[in-house]
């Protein structure tokens, strides 16, 4: 259940904003709000995930604190969002993972790392530090072990994310049949890939501080496309192995290595950039209880990328075995925590953008002004 005081805070926010509407030029949240007069929990769940946290509205607001109406849209939406992450989590009891998420993810990271290294020491002994001259990872961890482990965990996480998405979709009042509208999907994809809601027509937004900046958009792009690039690299690697039958380590000039390297660099630059912005952001608009969730997610992405790039460079050295296990431990933790950490924002925000795209297509065409 949404805590009563948070529901009230969200409804107060909407009452003020919907009778003001000065922010309607900023982003999708306000345009979606204007099509509503009643704000139930499901509306708040939708709108809070539609919010990209650009904070333009906060600085433009004549009713933000210390005004007696004291509204703070970015902060209220942030608080609502984390509640929706709990609401949609699958399986249900995993909702608890979002409480003190940073500590839990960190503990899991350490646990997996220790467990993997301990097991490897027992199984491999001195072999862990042997030099594999062709850089073949599978001499350390057999391919079957690696692929089965990640296939199982990956499938579970993908399923959890999918079910979370469907729970969101039903909760905000959509039916499964509305998922497959090509036009709406295309518009939503454009909004997702361009982050148009963080842009204001090229002006950027008010994050990390009031001054207009495009930093959030670009660091998010670098992170997002870095992630995508790594995903492509992994998929290509699997394709090379299973379809093309190339069982050796891919060449430095091969597509999986190129995509992985580019993506890895993106996943170092992007998340560190986002971390720097976090240090500079205005604390007034932040739900500080979520800092741990952000930091642990950023840490994992950067740790995976650094260990992965080191692994590439040092794959013919004696450090390869340990680096590989460290890298795989981080990746395993990420896979396990994707449905229960900051990663889910992408799932629900994409869902919210798809719903917004559908809502726009359902609206009667606006009459041009006389």
């Amino acid at each position: 259940m949404l805590p009563a005081e948070l529901l009230e805070e969200g409804q107060h926010l909407m009452a003020v904003c919907n009778s003001c509407r000065y922010c309607e030029g900023f982003c999708a949240v306000w345009q979606a709000m204007e099509t509503r007069t009643v704000f139930d929990e499901k509306d708040l769940n939708y709108l809070s995930n539609l919010c990209h946290n650009c904070s333009e509205c906060y600085y433009s607001c004549q009713y933000s604190p210390p005004h007696e109406f004291a509204i703070n849209p970015p902060k209220t939406f942030a608080k609502l969002r984390v509640y929706t992450y709990e609401l949609y989590a699958w399986p249900g009891p995993m909702a608890k993972a979002f409480h003190k998420n940073g500590i839990k993810v960190t503990m899991l990271t350490v646990l997996i790392l220790v467990a993997v290294m301990t097991c490897a020491s027992f199984v491999l002994g001195g072999q862990l530090f042997m030099t594999v001259h062709d850089g073949n990872f599978y001499k350390i961890v057999p391919h079957a072990v690696m692929s089965i482990a990640f296939a199982v965990v990956g499938t579970f996480s993908a399923l959890a994310l999918l079910l979370g998405f469907l729970r969101f979709w039903r909760n905000v009042g959509e039916s499964y049949s509305t998922l497959a509208k090509p036009g709406a999907l295309a518009t939503a994809a454009k909004d997702i890939f361009t982050l148009v809601n963080l842009d204001n027509g090229g002006d950027g937004c008010s994050y990390p501080t009031e001054k207009s900046s495009e930093a959030l958009k670009w660091f998010h792009h670098v992170t997002f496309y870095g992630f995508l690039s790594c995903f492509i690299a992994t998929t290509l690697g699997a394709f090379y192995y299973f379809v093309l039958g190339q069982h050796g380590p891919p060449a430095f000039t091969s597509l999986p290595v190129i995509f992985g390297t580019v993506g890895g660099i993106g996943l170092i630059v992007g998340p560190i950039g986002l971390w720097v912005l976090m240090q500079r952001r205005n604390e007034e608009i932040v739900d500080k209880s979520q800092n741990g969730m952000d930091l642990s997610f950023i840490f994992l992405l950067v740790a995976i990328s650094i260990s992965g790039l080191l692994l590439l460079v040092l794959r013919q050295s004696a450090a390869m075995g340990s680096l590989l296990l460290i890298h795989l431990s981080f990746v395993m933790t990420l896979f396990l925590t994707m449905p229960y950490g900051r990663f889910v924002h992408g799932i629900y925000r994409s869902g919210a953008l798809l719903k917004w795209s559908l809502e726009r297509s359902r609206q009667p065409k606006a009459k041009p002004a006389a």
Binding site: C61, Y63, A369
Partner: protein
């Protein structure tokens, strides 16, 4: 922290739209500019913080306004809202200069919504700030910092020293400490006196106690009063201003736009005796909301109650406060502590007088009453479908028009029409020159921007080149002939 406040060429009093336009213009003219703002930083910018748009003449569509809005149409609108109480020369000058406003504001970082984005039907005549007035003022203040204008907050000007029409200095309470600040020229852009309850009571009598002030609590009118006492010529009247009927539950000050209630023309309005007092359907609400403040102010205890039923619920802009609601008129009247029998009788008499018609809130439709006093001429539907809803109304004062008489160089005039030497006025403190009464959406920001720019330019000229300033620029027509 009080830095050295000496050595400035131009002093601007008041940090709203007009003040910033003046400060930036004076800086363009090469002057060293000091701006004193009475509010703390968050509450800066007076009523400009609550604005949303400005009205601009344009002969063809612009990126931020559709269609055309010609000088003549604009002037006709001014004549219509002021019922002729305007200075045609100043009004037309303002209208013509309004064509440059959005580009000039844009050059200082003010952003506008695209032409079709407006909520209201004002996309043709008015340009809307992206994010509203506070966003506009944030951009201005950032620009002021960039170009080196010295801004001091919590600096309330309480007195001015003027000798033979020449400004000498001001006395300001800066962080509560009395400080004398002199400059070669001054622009007063300190607004009206709407938040000065004592002055309002002087003008309106005890009823002013019950007015709500929609705008800033910082417009006390101290600068205006001081200058009028020093023998400057006034314009308009202390009772003139923009007063609308707003939700009676709004805060005493600073409620702004969200206090708006748009349901009056959809139902009926009674006073606290349970009686109707004016034709709620006389004309479109945007053309009538400005008179309803006064109508409610004239009722006992300065309250009114708008009653509607389920048929019209939701056909107007959402309200900040939820309506009172009940399944019978009697229960609703009781909840509002109104005389139940009289309210029931009023609504029965109204319902009996309603004629059949085709309801259309977008036109002056044929739904009206017959034989009822006062009549309801349009949108008269029976109030008969429960649940019933009611909103309390109170007069909401936005700004006042009593001000300083100026010429077309924004120069304040002495009684009798002589020019002051270095005192310029912009914004609400002189808006009465153009708006003797009435209001048209967005025109306040237009006057503030146009006169702010002129005042800043002229003040810089006066401060830096006093001889040429008074000789070179010929003074065209003066003030209202009336």
């Amino acid at each position: 922290m009080i830095n050295d406040l000496s050595g400035f060429d131009v002093l601007v009093v008041g940090g709203g739209n007009a003040g910033l336009a003046a400060a930036l213009s004076a800086r363009e003219g090469g002057a060293k500019v000091l701006l004193l703002e009475s509010a703390p930083q968050w509450f800066r910018a007076g009523n400009s913080r609550h604005t949303r748009d400005l009205r601009c003449m344009h002969d063809a569509p612009t990126p931020v306004m559709s269609g055309a809005y010609t000088e003549d149409e604009f002037y006709k609108d001014v004549l219509s809202v002021t019922q002729g109480k305007t200075n045609e020369h100043l009004a037309r000058m303002t209208i013509r200069a309004s064509t440059e406003c959005t580009a000039w504001m844009g050059s200082y970082g003010v952003r506008f919504q695209k032409a079709l984005g407006g909520t209201l039907q004002l996309g043709r005549t008015n340009a809307f700030f992206l994010g509203g007035g506070k966003a506009m003022m944030n951009a201005y203040y950032d620009a002021a910092e960039r170009v080196g204008i010295h801004v001091v907050y919590n600096a309330e000007v309480v007195a001015l020293s003027v000798t033979d029409g020449a400004f000498q200095s001001v006395t300001a309470l800066i962080e509560g400490k009395s400080t004398t600040v002199s400059a070669k020229a001054v622009v007063v852009a300190s607004g009206g006196f709407e938040s000065n309850l004592e002055w309002l009571k002087e003008a309106w009598g005890p009823m002013a106690e019950n007015f709500l002030i929609r705008g800033t609590p910082y417009n006390k009118g101290k600068v205006l009063k001081c200058l009028l006492d020093l023998g400057l010529e006034s314009i308009s009247d202390a009772k003139e201003g923009h007063m609308v009927a707003i939700d009676g539950r709004s805060p005493k000050f600073d409620g702004g736009i969200v206090t708006r209630l748009d349901c009056v023309s959809l139902g009926i309005v009674v006073n606290n005796k349970g009686e109707r007092f004016y034709d709620e359907g006389e004309d479109f609400w945007p053309k009538r909301y400005a008179i309803w403040g006064r109508l409610v102010a004239e009722q006992p205890d300065q309250v009114g109650y708008s009653f509607i039923d389920s048929k019209t619920m939701g056909k107007f802009m959402p309200t900040l406060f939820p309506p009172h609601r009940a399944n019978t008129i009697g229960e609703l009247a009781q909840a509002l502590k109104l005389p139940v029998g009289q309210v029931e009788a009023t609504i029965k008499a109204y319902n009996d007088a309603v004629q059949p018609g085709t309801f259309n809130h977008e036109t002056l439709d044929d739904c009206k009453t017959t034989g009822l006093k006062p009549a309801k001429s349009h949108w008269a539907l029976k109030i008969d479908k429960p649940p019933y809803y009611a909103y309390p109304l109170r007069p909401g004062l936005t700004f006042t028009y009593l001000g300083l008489m100026v010429n077309d160089r924004a120069m304040a005039l002495m009684k009798g029409g002589d020019r002051t030497k270095n005192i310029f006025a912009a914004g609400e403190i002189m808006a009465g020159n153009i708006l003797g009464m009435g209001y048209a959406a967005g025109i306040g920001v237009t006057i503030g921007t146009v006169f702010g720019r002129i005042a800043g330019r002229e003040a810089a000229m006066q401060a830096l080149h006093p001889t040429s300033a008074s000789v070179v620029v010929p003074e065209v027509a003066l003030h209202a002939a009336s």
